[in-house]
């Protein structure tokens, strides 16, 4: 077994071990209902962190609008599930919801990627932010209903749908989608996480992945060696968007009322996921999963501290960034501890990848 294969299996092993431990805790009743409710969000945040790491760490393009793709996946799949709830049985419907959510997110990832990937650096970042906000805003003004005559669509108000009496409003503007079936659970979340890990880790270790990383490190040199820069960029961005869409499907099938609110899909949410990626190690897939789980749980665990919890979280964030990244602190740490640090032990990397 090669070194990378070994590393990949360690990642799957960590996820599966965590799953077994949490399942055992759940079966023996050692998990409070509050914590149980956090398990599915933990998995979809880990999934989208993996997706964003593909974009930020492997492709090297900063995206601060990834929650927009999650939003697309969530709304398209929830719309499908709500519309076909009475017609299709649960298992095939949920599978189809996944396919639809992923396909829609991938399609928009592709379409948005065409203009976005022409830009560079911070300009690219701000345009991804812009697209994320546009997606959220546009979905917020959608009204779609279904009745005996078929689908009705407007962007004005629920009254403008002109529905029959038996009509059912599925997307109700800023009120979103209510009553999506709760099909997602912790096991499905873990399966989705494992599949996305499998896709991303295998991509990274493939010929395509090496081409993508070559573009990240020096796109001029990559182009000169005959790598199709635009093509590979589009590929990585689209796959990243598709995985974010899968996270959205989990999201929408775990919540009763789905709204395109800033709290879940705004730039703040996208930045929160970027925090997971950066603290887990840019380009380090396993680190993203671990960081997403720890950092998602941390503020929730601090709930006892009430109003102080986000204050503590922000201070911890600043200190961790300085300890991990400041050139002076790194030099001091090397002198005193000989290059060892907690993150590198956890994630199994000797050197941080920039």
């Amino acid at each position: 077994m090669s070194k990378t294969q070994k590393s990949n299996f360690i990642t799957y092993g960590i996820v599966i071990a965590a799953y077994i431990i949490l399942e055992v805790l759940m079966l023996t009743g050692n998990l409070s209902s509050h914590l149980k409710g956090l398990l599915v969000p933990m998995t979809y945040y880990a999934v989208i962190a993996v997706a964003l790491n593909l974009c930020v760490g492997i492709l090297g393009e900063l995206s601060i609008g990834h929650c927009g793709f999650m939003c697309l996946g969530a709304f398209s799949s929830a719309f499908f599930s709500r519309a076909t709830e009475q017609i299709i049985p649960t298992v095939p419907r949920f599978l189809m919801a996944f396919i639809i959510g992923i396909a829609v997110a991938a399609l928009f990832g592709f379409l948005i990627g065409i203009p976005v990937l022409r830009l560079k650096g911070d300009y690219l970042a701000i345009v991804t932010l812009a697209f994320g906000e546009i997606i959220k805003n546009v979905i917020n003004s959608f009204y779609i209903g279904i009745d005996s005559k078929g689908l009705h669509f407007t962007m004005k108000s629920a009254m403008d749908l002109n529905m029959e009496k038996d009509g059912d409003i599925i997307i109700n503007g800023a009120m979103g989608i209510t009553g999506t079936p709760h099909n997602a659970n912790f096991t499905i979340g873990i399966v989705v996480l494992l599949i996305s890990l499998f896709i991303v880790q295998n991509l990274v270790n493939s010929r395509d992945g090496r081409a993508i990383m070559a573009i990240r490190d020096n796109y001029i040199a990559a182009e000169a060696t005959g790598i199709n820069v635009t093509g590979y960029k589009m590929m990585a961005f689209t796959i990243s968007a598709a995985i974010a869409g899968a996270a959205g499907v989990l999201f929408s099938h775990n919540i009763t009322t789905l709204t395109a609110s800033s709290q879940y899909f705004g730039y703040n949410a996208s930045i929160m996921i970027l925090v997971y990626v950066v603290l887990g190690g840019i380009g380090n897939i396993r680190g993203s999963v671990i960081a997403a789980c720890i950092l998602y749980m941390l503020p929730e665990m601090l709930r006892g501290l009430n109003t102080y919890r986000m204050l503590i979280y922000s201070i911890v964030l600043i200190i961790m960034m300085i300890v991990n990244w400041s050139p002076k602190v790194i030099a001091w740490r090397k002198k005193t501890f000989g290059g060892l640090n907690l993150i590198s032990i956890l994630t199994g990397k000797k050197k941080g990848v920039a």
Partner: protein
């Protein structure tokens, strides 16, 4: 006539965005970092004016001066404690995330002190304004003051950067830090000065923003901050006249689309404008194109 009123309102909102964007663009130009906490400096400024005015029974002039001084100190301190240690870090993302941490920190401190409920902010400008054409066209005092203040700030900043030694040092440091240091410029001090100016501008913008839209909460600064950043990018980040143009365009587009198209979609239209401009001109309206050398 109503169109003209909306246009002037747009100019006023645009002027506020422009003042915030000036701070953004200066900090970006020299420190090459997106200071995500910049919007929260606005909020801090507003709360200081709010508290000082309340303590002095409505004396807002003292409030504004105190806010400008404290915001300047806050900007310099933040730069020193949180951003300076990360200069030269292996990834530019490190300082970005730290800025986000600072943003969370300021929001949560405000949340602890003032609570989450929205405070009603008393306008710092007690001028009714003027009306033309027999009352058909009314321009509020705050609108006129906002536009005037932003013009004055723009002129003063341009003079400062082009005519003074410190201003030239800023330009030099934003071009090439190492070369500037060799020419005897204290780069750290210059960056600190930039943060000081940017934060002082944020306090001024806060006073104007909350006078025009008098509701104050810990999240007041977040969205204007992001929009001002969009304005800075739209105008060409690093360029001071660009920030002004970007801010005005954004303000006018936002008010007009809110009025004539849809209030729900106005943000989408604002961000859409950014996307379109960047597609045509990838470095913004007045941005310089930097050739990449192999």
């Amino acid at each position: 006539m109503s169109f003209l009123t909306y246009l002037i309102n747009g100019l006023s909102l645009g002027s506020i965005y422009a003042i915030i964007a000036l701070g953004y663009t200066m900090v970006y130009g020299i420190a090459k970092m997106l200071n995500f906490a910049h919007g929260d400096f606005i909020m801090v400024g507003c709360y200081i004016i709010f508290s000082v005015s309340a303590a002095l029974s409505g004396n807002s002039v003292v409030g504004i001066i105190v806010a400008i001084i404290l915001c300047t100190l806050l900007g310099v301190t933040t730069e020193f404690v949180a951003y300076r240690p990360l200069r030269g870090a292996a990834s530019p993302l490190a300082v970005l995330i730290t800025a986000i941490g600072v943003s969370y920190l300021l929001e949560n401190i405000a949340l602890l002190i003032y609570g989450a409920d929205i405070k009603s902010f008393t306008s710092v400008i007690n001028w009714e304004g003027v009306s033309f054409a027999g009352g058909q066209l009314k321009i509020q005092g705050v609108t006129i003051v906002t536009i005037l203040v932003s013009v004055v700030i723009l002129i003063v900043l341009q003079l400062f950067i082009n005519k003074t030694k410190q201003g030239q040092a800023m330009l030099a440091a934003s071009e090439d830090k190492a070369a500037a240091a060799l020419m005897g410029i204290d780069v750290n001090k210059t960056i600190a000065l930039t943060f000081a100016i940017g934060s002082a501008l944020a306090a001024v913008a806060g006073a104007l923003l909350c006078s025009a839209y008098p509701s104050l909460s810990p999240y007041t600064g977040a969205m204007p901050g992001i929009k001002a950043f969009v304005a800075a990018v739209l105008g060409g980040i690093g360029s001071i006249p660009g920030a002004m143009i970007g801010g005005l365009v954004l303000g006018i587009v936002e008010i007009l689309s809110k009025t004539y198209i849809s209030s729900q979609l106005s943000d989408a239209i604002v961000f859409g404008i950014l996307v379109i401009v960047l597609l045509v001109k990838p470095t913004g309206i007045l941005g310089k194109k930097v050739q990449e050398k192999v």
